[in-house]
């Protein structure tokens, strides 16, 4: 294959023909192409429509009601949303979710990048290290949190026992807000790093060694090679990972619910745990649905922002 005009993943294709030329050659095929595209999308979107979007619309209508779920609720307009604005618990949950995202995303991406870089070099028994690093992915969120409960228990957990054994003072992982927050961040980073590492590894292996050779010839040392070759070329990969990590951080539930239950005193309460408690414990289904809608709205805004940003990164669309 010729090495001219090849595409990079994440970027649009370069080398567009002249505008007039394009219109002439593409117009007859454009409609067929669009029809084919819709056809290709149909199975996936049909599933999404019936099992995600329709329930979402249902949840939206519930959010406009005051209901406990049993029987019909009373129409309440935007009351639930007005309540949200004035609800300190909601803002705390939102703040915690944002803080959680801001901590977990860069941490797991950075660790993933470091691990991928290491694994991309020649190492003895490399598959062993790679296996160790991706093994945490195989564990479910609930199991991760349960292991965390055992490890972080401040009275008899293994972590505090180790700390005491080496002479440090044990940390109150459950009863203080900051350490409790640290436990959910640590557990999630442990869980997610493997995935980030895998995607980065794929991205790294796609960077040809001849680029590094050229950089070395230009006089770059290892750090400069990393900074000026690796990082820019991993741009699309990083972008992709940022989107996924942010999205998954916003919807975190299992780990927080099982590990801290949102405590102590709501210090680790996040949007989805708050929505769950409101809907299924207090049984205020309308309010819970409103929280869900807000979550969805944030996701839409974020998705739109990232899509815009990725498009300006692309060559002209």
């Amino acid at each position: 294959m010729a090495d001219t005009a090849v595409a990079r993943p994440g970027l649009s294709r370069p080398g567009r023909p002249e505008r007039g030329e394009r219109m002439r050659t593409r117009r007859p095929g454009a409609r067929r192409e669009a029809l084919a595209a819709y056809g290709f999308l149909a199975p996936n979107y049909l599933l999404l429509l019936v099992f995600v979007l329709v329930p979402l619309v249902g949840a939206f209508f519930v959010s406009l009601q005051r209901t406990d779920g049993f029987g019909d609720g009373t129409f309440a307009g935007l009351d639930n949303y007005a309540r949200l604005v004035g609800d300190p618990l909601f803002w705390r949950a939102l703040g915690n979710t944002v803080l959680f995202t801001l901590l977990v995303t860069p941490l797991s991406m950075l660790l993933g990048l470091v691990a991928a870089t290491l694994l991309n070099t020649a190492l003895p028994v490399r598959p062993l290290w790679r296996s160790l690093l991706i093994l945490p992915m195989a564990v479910s969120g609930v199991a991760t949190a349960l292991i965390g409960v055992l490890v972080f228990d401040q009275n008899s957990g293994i972590l505090n026992r180790i700390l005491t054994a080496v002479g440090l003072s044990p940390v109150t992982w459950q009863s203080d807000p900051v350490p409790a927050f640290a436990t959910i961040v640590l557990a999630t980073v442990w869980w997610r790093t493997g995935f980030n590492m895998l995607i980065y590894l794929a991205g790294l292996q796609g960077i040809g060694p001849d680029l590094y050779e050229a950089a070395t010839l230009d006089g770059a040392n290892r750090w400069q090679r990393f900074r000026n070759v690796t990082i820019p070329l991993l741009g699309p990969t990083s972008f992709f990972l940022v989107v996924l990590n942010v999205i998954f951080s916003f919807q975190v539930f299992d780990i927080v619910f099982v590990l801290t239950g949102g405590g102590p005193g709501g210090a680790t309460s996040v949007l989805v745990t708050y929505a769950y408690e409101t809907g299924f414990v207090t049984r205020d289904q309308g309010y819970a649905a409103a929280i869900g809608m807000v979550l969805f709205l944030f996701a839409l805004v974020f998705a739109a922002a990232q899509y815009r940003a990725s498009r300006t990164k692309d060559v002209v669309e």
Partner: protein, 302 residues
């Protein structure tokens, strides 16, 4: 050509070129060996840190109940390795049936979601059509919806369509995911248009092009999608619990919830059960990891 010009024109999917022999190689080799030791040490430390919670799960699974609750000194391995937790688990739950249910559901979910993701990802990556932007980020936004938010509405739909109480009540909603679509699009953006256009010029229809040109190039992507789909449906529990009604249809992760009793947990049995849950998927992982890790690099160029 300066490095910057090379960067602009580079392919991030080029096959790994053989190392070239350049002057100063022996000196570089020596320093490479030294730094290889350093790198190995670092990666070993990181690897062991990553795996130590799993080791702890293993240790607890093989510890006796008395040992877990008593004892406050630091022990890194159980005083006495016992199988009693596993015995308790197998005596209390139909593990084999639930294992079978999990496999059945995971396989069908994977078949459905991988094929729909491939099709949709291709459409977004390589086809032009109106509304692609809006449709794409609508799909992206659905990624953020955890099942807890739409649970009740979804349950109504599942009951209304008569799926409740069968595997399909789990299979179909779980297959409805935009994650695979997202991954597939990302990957397929890297397929050179020239190949596709060549096929079209040869007279192939869109479907033909997809089947004959795109799919063969996407084997690494398919491996990743199969992987991620198996993993997420294997570990899913919140929705299956609500959608499956009967105990005999339950999947394996639901058992973990059983062990979280009303007033406290049996940690030995919990970890034993978690181990049973992890081992099959971990084996699949470890055996097949090279198929997509190494292969992802070859993003479509022959």
């Amino acid at each position: 050509m300066s490095i910057h010009e090379r960067l602009d024109a580079t392919a991030s999917g080029s096959p790994l070129a053989p190392p070239s022999v350049t002057p100063g190689r022996r000196a570089r080799d020596r320093s490479r060996r030294g730094s290889a030791i350093g790198r190995t040490i670092i990666v070993a430390v990181v690897g062991l840190a990553a795996v130590s919670p799993l080791y702890w799960m293993l240790a607890v699974a093989f510890s006796s109940r008395a040992e877990l609750l008593g004892g406050r000194e630091l022990r890194l391995w159980p005083r006495e390795v016992t199988f009693e937790n596993f015995e308790r688990v197998f005596a209390s739950f139909p593990v084999a049936t639930w294992f079978g249910n999990s496999v059945a559901i995971a396989v069908v979910v994977t078949l459905i979601s991988v094929s729909t993701s491939l099709l949709a990802g291709y459409a977004f990556a390589q086809l032009r059509f109106r509304g692609s932007t809006a449709l794409f980020f609508l799909a992206l936004a659905t990624l953020v919806l955890p099942v807890q938010v739409i649970m009740v509405s979804l349950f109504r739909i599942v009951t209304a369509t008569g799926l409740y109480g069968t595997y399909w009540a789990v299979i179909l909603p779980v297959s409805a995911s935009a994650f695979g679509l997202f991954l597939a699009r990302q990957f397929m953006l890297g397929i050179p248009r020239e190949l596709i256009e060549a096929a079209r010029l040869d007279g192939a229809g869109h479907v033909q092009t997809f089947l004959r040109v795109v799919l063969p190039l996407s084997k690494p992507l398919i491996a990743v999608l199969v992987f991620m789909s198996l993993l997420s449906s294997w570990n899913d529990f919140a929705w299956p619990l609500i959608a499956l009604r009967e105990n005999r249809l339950f999947t394996l992760p639901i058992g973990l919830l059983y062990l979280q009793g009303q007033f406290g947990s049996d940690y030995g049995a919990t970890m034993a059960y978690a181990l049973l849950n992890v081992v099959p998927i971990a084996i699949v992982f470890l055996v097949f990891q090279r198929y997509f890790v190494a292969g992802l690099a070859r993003s479509g160029i022959k």
